[in-house]
Each structure stands twice: as C-alpha cells, then as structure tokens.
Symmetry: C2
Subunit: 255 residues, 2 copies
C-alpha cells in the first residue's frame, strides 16, 4: 500500500490527511525472452501472477514441469523460461482480438482440455459454502484498508487454502492458479471464491484448469453461465449471508 495526501470532506468541512491507497504497477511477462503481455497489477505475488496468467491464457499447461520464473522487481518484469516455445499462432490471434485491453475471445483446441467429462463435480453442502464465503470476506486485508482491490481464494471441501488480492479481478484469480501450480496442489476438488462479477472471460480462464466450481459474491453474465454449462463448471453467485443463486450445478437439472 502507498500513502497519499488527500483532502477528506464531510459535508462542507475539510481535513488534510495522509491516507492509504492501493498500489498499481505495470508488470511485463517475457517467455524465453519474448515479450508476451503487460498487466496492470498489484505488486505482490508476482511469480504466481506470471505463471497463473500463462496457464489461464492457455499458453502453458498445468502439468508442464519445465517452467522457471525470475522476477525483476526493480523493472516489474517476469522472465519465464520453458522448454519449447509458446504457441505463436495463439499469441498473435489473441493479441489481435483483445487489443482493447479487455476481452479475450480466442478459442483453440486446448480449451477442450478439461471439458465436462473429466471435471470433478463440486461436492459442497450449502452450509459449507456460506461458511467459506463468510471466512473469505472477512479475510481480505487490503480491501479493508483501501477499498481498491478484488480478492480471490482457493478452497477445498472444508477450508480456504489461500487468498490473493489484486487491483484486477482477473489477476487475483491468476495469482491463485499460479500459486497452486508452484505448490503442486491438486485442483481437481477445489473451487475458486471471488469478490468480483463473473464474465465469460473468468469462466474461460477457469476452464484451463481442473477447478470444479466458481463461487462469487456478485453476478454472472448470461455468457458466463453458457460457458460454465459447456465446461461442466458449477457456477454459484450472489452468496450473501444465508442466500445464494445456483446458476449451474454439474449433474443437476434445473427444469
């Protein structure tokens, strides 16, 4: 967190104070010395972010063990080395369609990797989901201080394994995926908890991993629901107190 002189106003009165604000850095990822992408991110857990981004972008596989990462935190760069090279066609196509800094729309055959068939069914009781989300929401430290970050957590059936925060909701998820890769955590019976809204992009990221469900405090879009159904990823939203909406649950018919 950085500090910042600000003017705090209450009605007409003013007070000059030093407040905490969330930090933002440009973080550039190189793979085998080739520049891949620059993310605007929070300056923590950068190794997790680099790896997680490459996995959820479909550029490396979760079972690839030839990856090595060095972080240069003076220039905010990750230097990733791997055997072979990233799929150049995918890279060019992806960059072309996502030039706006917002959507990633490109599909390729690796998107089929963890499709419906192979993915575990989420086995969590409602009571457990309410408990996990309560714990998740009370755990975010920087949000309480600055209000400026999103958080994501990885949970198994009965506990939160780890939590990450970032100014970008996608980055927070990538940091979780990267952490799981580095710690060799089996993702097959885990879920992602997120503070943010769930767009198709979030589901397409999770689809690149064996994670079995997405549980959010917020709303999904219609396309996110379609993608979750197609990939067999359980999607639960608006978890607040003892309420929640099940948008898609693997193996269950809503009709």
């Amino acid at each position: 967190m950085a500090t910042q002189k600000i003017i705090k106003c209450r009605g007409e009165s003013e007070e000059k104070v030093v407040d905490r604000v969330t930090e933002e850095i440009p973080f550039t990822i190189y793979v085998n010395e080739r520049e891949i992408a620059t993310l605007l991110a929070s300056p923590r857990d950068l190794e997790d972010l680099a790896i997680g981004f490459l996995i959820t972008a479909g550029l490396i596989k979760t079972n690839d063990d030839s990856i090595d990462v060095t972080i240069d935190d003076t220039k905010w760069r990750a230097h990733v080395t791997m055997k072979g090279d990233v799929d150049t066609d995918l890279l060019e196509k992806r960059m072309y369609t996502s030039g706006c800094g917002r959507g990633i729309l490109f599909y390729n055959t690796t998107d089929l990797m963890y499709r419906n068939k192979g993915r575990s069914k989420l086995e969590l009781e409602k009571k457990k989901i309410f408990e996990l989300m309560r714990e998740f929401q009370s755990s975010s430290i920087e949000f309480k201080e600055t209000g400026g970050v999103h958080s994501a957590a990885l949970a198994s059936g009965d506990r939160i394994i780890t939590l990450r925060e970032d100014i970008g909701r996608h980055n927070a998820i990538d940091k979780i995926v990267g952490y799981a890769y580095c710690e060799k955590i089996d993702l097959a019976n885990t879920v992602i908890l997120t503070s943010g809204r769930v767009s198709s992009e979030v589901v397409l990221k999770i689809q690149k991993t064996p994670i079995s469900g997405i549980i959010s405090r917020s709303a999904p879009t219609d396309q996110a629901i379609r993608h979750a159904e197609a990939a067999g990823i359980t999607l639960i939203g608006f978890v607040r107190g003892e309420r929640m909406n099940i948008y898609y649950e693997k193996g269950r018919d809503k009709r």
Copy 2:
C-alpha cells in the same frame, strides 16, 4: 437483460425461479475494414461504444468530423469509416503491450493533447457533487435488476446529461465519450461520474478528452492519482452520502 432458470437458496431451502441476468456480447470494431479490437460488452449503445473506444484509445480525435459508423447487430460488429487511416504503429504497439485483455500502457504524443494547460478547472461545489452522485446512484436501472453492470454518467455543473451501463466499467465510460461526440457536446466543463474503481487506464482514457474531472464512488490506485495530477484532471473518490475524498484538485495544493 436475459432470463435464466436458476435455483435460489435461502439457508437449506431451494426454489427454482426464472431470474434476470445481464447480457454479454463480443463486439468487434472494424475501421476502414480493418479489424481493430473485440470488446466484451453489454449489447446497447453500440455506436457510442465504437466511437468512444476509438477516441479514448487515441485512434481518432474528438474534433474529427469524417467518422461514419454502421452497426451490424446480427453479428455484433461496428463498421467505422474515416478519412485517412488509424495510426498503425500505435495500433501494433498497443496490441502488443495489452495482449492480456487488461492493461493499456502505451503512450504517444497524442497523450499530451489535453494536458494540464488547456484543461478546464472543475468548478463544482461539494453540495453539488453529493447531489449528482445521489442522482447517479439512483438512476442505474439494470444494476438494480441484475447486479451485473457498471455505470458511468456525464454531468455538467448542475445536472446529469446522460448515463450509460455496461458489464465493463471502461465500456460504460467509452459509451459516454462516444455519445458526447455524436451529440457534439462540449466536454470542457463536464465531469465523469463512475461506479467503478479508478485505475490508471481510466485516467488515461479521460486524458484523451477535455473532460475536467472524474468522480467515483470507489477507490483510485496510486498510479491513477499520479496520472490525474500530470494531466490536470480533478480526481475525487469514495463519494458516499455527505463524504468524499479529494485525491487531486486542479489548482489546489494539498500540502
């Protein structure tokens, strides 16, 4: 808004209902038949979005009157024609650095266009800001129905001129800028109201326009504050009830 069969849970009880969810579409922008970018967006005000995106990306100027837009809403495409062509170097550089679908970091000389010197100072009393934000927050229709969108509004000294909603907070702002272009609204003494957090990317977008301030319900990042100071754009955050934080106000010293 789309409708969706969902399972609503309260504690252990379940109810199958049809609920409203926010729609998401892939929207591809072509300029002179060249594909520029695909945005994930809400399917409304697409002409505004196409124009606004091109302006805030620095690809067209707010005073360029040679622009023509046709929307194909069967394929979700915008066909933009203009005299001359977009800056190809800028396009390639931008795409390269923002391949992640998140950050746009590229600067060029057009970023200096509306720097500090030429920009109007925000002239709004505190009371007016509180009033505008109250009106803004009560005006968002789709958010109330689906919880799935961000909103942005354009305001003059005394009223809200227009409001736009989108699944992307950047898109909502682009739609405002595009609307102002189409309606030939002088942006010199206007401000943007936004429901979303303010990152450097938001400030860099506004910097491409003569808009004099950004007023948000949420938090800015440290880099957003730096960019606002450099560009002479007033930046106010955490406007809630009768409280707000002034992070930078043109012509005012915080020391």
